[in-house]
């Protein structure tokens, strides 16, 4: 990374790290929610669905603020996490990952739901008559068949996580090397006299990363479709 300054490459590496954590963290929850929302009928399903989609319509600052209330040192969940596990979220990259995870969660759930809806239940029935238990069916039939959606969701969420600004800066502030991801670094550069060139480089970098993510997602989807013979 010869053409990036130390600050810029630190922001890049941090962004990738935060986005990776964010995706790994939200993946199992998104899968579970996609499953529940697609396959289960229960009271309050519509409410839960709306709740999952809230980050799409709320100002990111509001999400950051709510996270601050819940996961702050004196917040009900944050305090407990620190006492019991010694996990600190505020002003840390894990906190940044949590904020981006919440923001990109609806995107991930959406992609997974669409692919789950397209999985032929008849195939699960067939597996069932062959002796496969519920978990077995999910792991060997349902999950592989919804893999294109899971991958697409993960890549989209990763790209979105790279760009999350409002929720991150509200929740974990803007600390170089810890929470100053690409968009925050870009914003900081714009606030700094003579930072125009740096801002431009960071903008181009964000652009390249986003485009790369989209192309990668498309390539994956095509590969998996071919694997499934469609």
């Amino acid at each position: 990374m010869m053409w990036l300054s130390a600050n810029e490459s630190a922001a890049l590496v941090l962004s990738l790290s935060v986005a990776t954590r964010s995706v790994l963290f939200s993946l199992p929850f998104a899968l579970l929610l996609a499953w529940v929302l697609t396959r289960k009928q229960f009271l309050g399903r519509t409410m839960l669905d709306a709740f999952v989609h809230l980050p799409l319509v709320l100002p990111p600052v509001v999400v950051g603020y709510i996270l601050l209330l819940l996961f702050g040192v004196r917040g009900p969940i944050g305090g407990w996490l620190e006492r019991v596990f010694g996990i600190e979220l505020i002003f840390t990259r894990n906190g940044a990952a949590l904020a981006t995870a919440v923001m990109s969660f609806p995107l991930m759930v959406r992609a997974m739901r669409i692919s789950l809806e397209n999985v032929d239940r008849g195939l699960e029935d067939a597996a069932r008559t062959l002796g496969a238990s519920a978990f077995d069916r999910f792991a060997t039939i349902t999950l592989p068949l919804m893999l294109p959606g899971v991958l697409a969701g993960a890549i989209t969420a990763f790209s979105a996580a790279l760009g999350e600004f409002g929720a991150v800066i509200t929740f974990v502030s803007n600390i170089p090397g810890e929470t100053r991801t690409l968009p925050l670094a870009l914003y900081t550069a714009l606030q700094t006299p003579g930072g125009d060139a740096e801002a431009a480089r960071l903008a181009i970098l964000s652009f390249v990363l986003g485009l790369g993510g989209l192309l990668l997602s498309e390539w994956f989807a095509r590969r998996v479709r071919r694997m499934l013979g469609r």
Binding site: L123, A126, R128, T129, L130, G131, T140, L228, G229, R230
Partner: protein, 359 residues
């Protein structure tokens, strides 16, 4: 013995089924499309819940709503061949087959090699499922169901989505399955030809209800079965035993009731069981022993009933020694020959119109 009883309501549709099958045997669930055959099969498999029901195979009770027994489908050991095959698209043929084998609840009594051999799957093993023809898909689906080591096999119109020649390509495999593995089968079909080839018993369904059942020979003349298959296809299904082959003509002699039929059936050992359908429209009725005729087959018997059939013809039921057959003759012939219960007759049929199957 397979015992099935099921009651279920679904909107305006009511399933009310009840049948038994001596095992091993092949029971055909026969009826028009939409009469509830698939619903019943799904209840047997456990994929669909019945309001009241009982499914028992020999000593194993799989469902008994009165006793609160409901074994889940994955533990019923019932193989299911679906109409649309339902092969797993992300697995190749071999992996589809192994999927079943790996999850078998008992030590395999049919192994992969045996199934591959029986169904000729060797050339298909490395293929993707989307590279298979319709007939090949069904063969793989049958093989997969077998490899789950089932104690009962359900086949839901496995050939319905195939054209006639493809169907002819898969049928022999089903026959050899029936003959070589003693797995009881429930075969859903609305095609009487398939039933004729495969089944030992027939359960007739109409709008959700099982209205008649019995062995195939006796059911083949049931008035409601006749109504479904149409006048041209009506005919007794009779089972006979090979006596030997005529050296001069090459025809196989088959003992049926009191008489002997001569049929085209290549070489077959005496004692082999053969089944033929004597179509009512192919039979000629004579009141004297025929002479000077080219017809090779004359079955001696006694008229048991004369009933109005279609248009201006009658359906004459003839007992040929414990076996009932039917002949369609014009009403004019009925009165001219004075056909009535008790009349001694000879039923004539051309060898060329008989297509025997092994059973």
């Amino acid at each position: 013995m397979l015992q099935v009883a099921a009651k279920k309501h679904r909107g305006a549709f009511t399933l009310d089924a009840n049948f038994e099958l001596p095992t091993p045997g092949v029971v055909a669930l026969f009826g028009r499309s939409g009469c509830g055959k698939t619903t019943l099969v799904n209840v047997i498999a456990g994929l669909l819940a019945a309001e009241r029901g009982r499914v028992a195979l020999d000593d194993a009770v799989l469902l008994d709503t009165d006793q609160g027994v409901d074994v889940p489908p994955e533990r019923r050991r019932i193989g299911y061949v679906f109409q649309d095959a339902r092969l797993f698209p992300h697995l190749r043929v071999q992996a589809n087959l192994r999927y079943a084998l790996k999850r078998a609840a008992v030590a395999p009594f049919v192994g992969l090699d045996r199934v591959v051999d029986l169904l000729d799957l060797g050339p298909l093993l490395a293929r993707h499922t989307h590279e298979l023809s319709g007939g090949e898909r069904q063969r793989v689906a049958i093989g997969r169901a077998l490899l789950s080591q089932p104690s009962l096999l359900l086949l839901d119109e496995p050939l319905a989505s195939l054209d006639a020649s493809r169907r002819e390509e898969v049928l022999p495999y089903l026959e050899s399955l029936r003959d070589q593995l003693a797995i009881p089968m429930v075969y859903v079909s609305h095609n009487f030809d398939e039933v004729l080839r495969l089944a030992t018993h027939l359960v007739l369904m109409e709008s959700g209800k099982t209205i008649a059942q019995g062995d195939l020979g006796e059911m083949s003349l049931h008035p409601r079965v006749r109504a479904i298959i149409g006048a041209d296809a009506v005919g007794a299904i009779v089972d006979g035993v090979v006596l030997g082959t005529d050296a001069s003509s090459g025809l196989t002699r088959v003992q049926v009731g009191l008489s002997v039929l001569r049929v085209h059936y290549g070489k077959s050992a005496p004692g082999t069981k053969l089944r033929v359908q004597l179509l009512a429209r192919d039979l000629i009725v004579a009141t004297e022993a025929p002479r000077h005729l080219s017809v090779r087959n004359s079955l001696k018997g006694v008229v048991t009933s004369v009933a109005h059939d279609v248009e201006d013809s009658d359906l004459i039921a003839i007992d040929i020694g414990g076996i009932l057959i039917m002949a369609r003759v014009t009403k004019a012939a009925t009165s001219e020959l004075a056909l009535a219960p008790g009349t001694a007759v000879w039923a004539l049929v051309k060898t060329a119109s008989l297509r025997p199957h092994a059973i």
